[in-house]
């Protein structure tokens, strides 16, 4: 994709044509890295933070701004597990499947959560309320098995305890 200098993105002070303020914040992050192509992963982190996930349009926008071919941006975004190309649920429940958690029974915890929510790990309930995810070790092995509920790490979990968390999430109305 040939991009010339004249197509430089709008300065951060100017509002984004879409009127979406998140673009202005993303623009600021790119500017901080001087639109350097090697800042791609940092920029994707920021974009996901702002938008929740990386849509194709968003990836094209970033590719354009950093003067990178869209294939490269798409390749990087899909290579790393941390980046999501689909919207996430309003709440999240992450079951750690690291070795220490595995040895202490995390498989049973995940199975209980899957059964209760009626979805597979890595997906979101049809109403978009809860995403059930897995992690490969959070480094909190001392308190295994661990589950992260809406960003809060909790240790020494059991299947029963996790179902209580999930029930609590289910009752939270936005």
């Amino acid at each position: 994709m040939a991009v010339t200098r004249s197509q430089r993105p709008t300065p951060e002070s100017a509002p984004h044509p879409s009127g979406d303020n998140r673009f202005r914040l993303l623009e600021a992050a790119m500017k901080k890295h001087q639109y350097r192509p090697d800042a791609l992963i940092e920029v994707l982190h920021r974009a996901q933070e702002l938008f929740g996930y990386l849509s194709t349009d968003l990836l094209l926008y970033i590719a354009h701004s950093l003067h990178l071919p869209p294939s490269r941006v798409y390749g990087v975004a899909t290579f790393y597990h941390f980046f999501s190309m689909a919207p996430k649920g309003q709440h999240s429940c992450v079951v750690c499947l690291g070795t220490a958690c595995y040895v202490r029974g995390s498989a049973a915890i995940l199975a209980a959560a899957e059964r209760h929510l009626g979805i597979k790990a890595g997906t979101t309930t049809p109403d978009g309320h809860i995403s059930l995810e897995t992690a490969r070790c959070l480094g909190a092995c001392g308190i295994a098995p661990t589950v992260v509920v809406d960003g809060t790490v909790t240790g020494h979990q059991t299947p029963e305890q996790v179902l209580i968390w999930i029930e609590r999430l289910a009752q939270m109305v936005e």
Binding site: A100, Y102, L138, A140, C141, G142
Partner: protein
């Protein structure tokens, strides 16, 4: 900033200390168990009793993560475990002869007394969020000494003579690596700290950064001076938000005081450090993949040579060491190469930090001299709940399972390798009879299959095929010939893969086959049964 200012900060910090210090662990494990609200309650309780001789400080990991939140009261050395916020007033009252409601820990337990803390010397003692706390413990004096009284060649000589080897797992001599980077020519040189601790079951690097981030930065700065670099990167996993936050804070504080940045200690040496946050790819722990990721590309390894020491980041000479390796540098400079070389075994010097987890009474972080036996670590320090260990897994997905019969194996690079595992970065998972070894092999193979970057065929197709064969075995549909074929495939993948991930992915299968073959064989179709089912 000069030495007198550094000493002034240290003295001021020490003078402002109060006689009774209540240390509350605020590392991830204890935070998850409620340490932050506990710390706040302790502060409130200390204020309420209106005593001027009590202070409450947040510290890093004290080691016994499984029993958190932990609180230690100085100078009497009273340890409390599983402390709830509600226990806070009673802990303060106990200073006046009351009785604390939190369970007492035993600081004289072998878990603590069996350790030799060098990397973790400040962990659980200083406040990781304040640079003054590190300086008061003698921090940044090694860097000052190096910049003013040693040439880069002197530094490399000390590190070489110390016998320090890379703590990331492979055990490459650190001094030799530094010398290679120092000799290489480039427009610029880089120093990289590998904090992409991806092995499930390992959390040494996370704890070191969360507990003593400046120590890692000081080690990196000394390394940069020795090899002639002016820019450093710390590559941290995105899964470690607290470590990232503390590191960011540490870098900002160090910059403000002038111990990082331009003209450090007025010695004409410039060194800047930036953080690069990973995005969840295990393969990025491999050095060439890690560099690709820092450059904003997919984390795929490339063949070596050229080694990063000659052609690394953006084609320039690059030094890559692990977090724990850098954390060893300042103590070596402070105490000398001979002191360091006197610890450990003939070929493995110093200490090693291990993350002790699994079916064990005391889970957490320990640091022992190289050469300590697995039995000392697992049975004496860890404590086995029902007295029976089946196997100890070391080295994560790249390592193997060491059976209980070999618990007297000393922990050093060569000995662990001899029994079919690897030292790895330091994860140590204890397993009992409830864990089936074929399941363990399957668990790791699934991990490696998911994490294979897909660049080379042996790893991409091999891990998928090995996983499939393990599925067949687990389903009770495999023949003895299948088992043999699995073994052959393991060896082939090991020999022909491009990077460490593929080369070591078969290790968990091979080591469990070696020591627990009976568990595989019990799952095979019986020969006679096979004869009737075959067409």
């Amino acid at each position: 900033m000069d030495l007198s200012e550094l000493i002034e900060i240290a003295e001021h910090e020490r003078a402002s200390r109060r006689s009774i210090r209540i240390r509350c662990c605020t590392a991830l494990g204890c935070q998850s168990a409620g340490a932050l609200s506990l710390k706040q309650r302790l502060e409130e309780a200390a204020t309420e009793v209106e005593r001027q001789d009590i202070e409450v400080i947040g510290v890093g990991c004290m080691g016994l993560c499984g029993n958190g939140p932990l609180v230690m009261v100085d100078p009497d050395g009273v340890l409390y475990e599983h402390v709830r916020a509600a226990d806070a007033p009673s802990i303060v009252a106990a200073l006046d002869g009351g009785e604390a409601t939190a369970p007492l820990g035993d600081p004289q337990h072998p878990f603590f007394t069996g350790q030799k803390r060098l990397v973790l010397e400040h962990s659980g003692i200083i406040d990781p969020e304040r640079i003054e706390s590190y300086i008061a413990a003698g921090g940044y004096q090694a860097l000052y000494h190096v910049l003013h009284e040693m040439t880069p060649a002197d530094v490399i000589d000390v590190i070489t003579r110390s016998g320090l080897r890379g703590r990331g797992g492979a055990g490459y001599p650190t001094g030799l690596k530094w010398a290679t980077v120092a000799k290489s020519h480039g427009n610029r040189k880089f120093v990289v700290c590998n904090a992409d601790e991806g092995d499930p079951g390992a959390f040494m690097d996370r704890s070191i950064i969360e507990s003593d981030p400046h120590k890692v930065l000081e080690g990196m700065a000394i390394a940069a001076y020795a090899v002639g670099a002016d820019q450093g990167y710390v590559y941290v996993r995105a899964e470690y938000p607290l470590a990232i936050q503390r590191l960011q804070k540490a870098i900002a504080q160090a910059r403000r005081l002038g111990v990082l940045g331009a003209q450090i200690f007025d010695a004409g040496f410039t060194f800047r450090v930036d953080i690069r946050v990973g995005a969840g790819a295990f393969v990025c722990g491999e050095e060439t993949a890690l560099m690709a990721s820092i450059e904003g590309r997919r984390g795929q390894p490339r063949p070596r040579p050229p080694y990063p020491a000659e052609s690394g980041l953006w084609g320039q000479p690059t030094l890559i060491n692990n977090v724990e390796t850098y954390a060893n540098i300042a103590p070596i400079i402070r105490h000398g190469a001979e002191w360091f070389a006197s610890i450990g075994t003939e070929t493995s010097k110093g200490t090693k930090v291990f993350a002790l987890t699994g079916k064990i009474r005391h889970t957490g972080l320990i640091e022992v001299p190289m050469g300590a036996t697995l039995r000392q670590i697992v049975e004496e320090m860890g404590g086995v709940p029902d007295g029976h260990v089946k196997a100890v897994q070391t080295g994560g997905p790249s390592g193997g399972c060491i059976p209980a019969t070999l618990l007297d194996t000393p922990v050093d690079y060569e000995s662990v390798q001899r029994v079919g595992s690897i030292m790895g970065s330091g994860g140590m998972v204890v397993m009992d009879d409830a864990t089936h070894m074929v399941d363990v092999a399957h668990f790791y193979m699934e991990f490696c299959k998911d994490e294979s970057c897909g660049k080379c065929i042996p790893c991409r197709a091999g891990t998928a095929q090995m996983l499939h064969m393990l599925d067949v075995i687990r389903a009770g549909q495999a023949t003895p010939a299948d088992l043999e074929q699995l073994e052959q495939l393991c060896l082939m993948v090991k020999e022909t893969s491009l990077c460490g991930l593929g080369q070591s992915a078969p290790n968990p299968v091979l080591s469990t086959l070696k020591y627990f073959r009976a568990e595989y064989e019990a799952l095979l179709i019986h020969n006679a049964e096979r004869a009737t089912t075959e067409p």
